[in-house]
Symmetry: C2
Subunit: 200 residues, 2 copies
């Protein structure tokens, strides 16, 4: 029998997705569960809600708090942090690379490195050369990987993920789906795992 | 030396404030800290952010999730829950009663009973007779208490709390202030207590 599986929906622009990406792998191993990694885009979903920017920019008082909270939480989790100059960043290219390589063992390192570069090294992940550098550091060939990720077939895979997220009632990131039930936010990861284990 | 103190900012209309009100007293006793109870109104603060209603109504997908999340969390905390017919409810009168009686031993029971009536008994706490019933059940004289709470002096106290909340950068409820530092959400209560204890 296969291990119980939790779907982890993440967006590369999302600060709280970084927190989860930084701890979900070791937590899943400890708990004996599998993670299905589901990159998607929040932009179209925020648009559905009438928002043309991150809520942390639209509501500056909340945004100011979020950065303070993220500083405290990254420290708690032992993750590097430095407030980026650009927020939110366009995670489209990173998401396409991820979705095209979900079967590769290096993809989880790529995901976490991309978040770290974005949220602790003041680099912009919409920049191809930044992504190339990460791929190179993982011993991969950036040109091949990036060109494959820009195929129409692969672009459609990401569109389908975003459409699926919308249908699941996802409105933010990170989100977790267990047996069709939605949990939102890094704060609910433990609850989602508990729910999964109680139903396995 | 007095015990370390955490300020608990709450709004009677707020679902997640109910979660905190339902567990903060026993947690504070266990942790050896004092709670400063700070009722305030979110309405004026939401208006500052350009919102004329609860974000859970303005963003219905998020709202739908919130009720599911609240159902799960109240179960986890052992609190009664039944989705109210009216949301958000006007907590003005309840907040005035609270602020006028913060030195009374029965006030914490009044706060929690008001939340329970609102979020598990389908009653409307903007209704004076509902509040009277709660006060009576606590052995108090509703007429005296309600008329005192409607004095100009007491109305001003609540206005001052709301103004103070705004100055502290509070944008939602529940919020916690420790040494001037803001923690937002029932999920951050443990972090706020840890922060307080590390600085005491």
């Amino acid at each position: 029998m296969s291990k119980p599986t939790l779907s982890f929906w993440f967006e590369f622009a999302s600060t709280y997705s970084y927190l989860t990406a930084g701890r979900i792998k070791s937590l899943a191993e400890k708990e004996g569960i599998l993670i299905e990694w589901k990159p998607f885009l929040l932009g179209p979903i925020f648009k559905d809600q009438g928002m043309s920017d991150s809520p942390f920019n639209l509501f500056p008082t909340k945004g100011k708090y979020m950065w303070k909270d993220l500083e405290r939480r990254t420290e708690k989790y032992g993750l590097p942090f430095s407030k980026p100059d650009t927020f939110p960043q366009n995670g489209l290219k990173a998401a396409r690379i991820t979705i095209a390589n979900l079967d590769k063992p290096w993809v989880h390192h790529f995901i976490l490195e991309t978040y770290k570069v974005e949220f602790s090294q003041k680099q912009d992940i919409s920049n191809v050369s930044v992504l190339s550098q990460i791929l190179k550091s993982l011993g991969q060939n950036p040109e091949n990987i990036i060109s494959t990720s820009e195929s129409d077939e692969n672009k459609n895979k990401l569109r389908e993920n975003t459409e699926q997220a919308r249908k699941l009632g996802i409105f933010g990131a990170p989100s977790f789906i267990v047996n069709g039930e939605l949990f939102w936010g890094d704060d609910r990861l433990e609850d989602a795992i508990e729910f999964l284990k109680s139903r396995s």
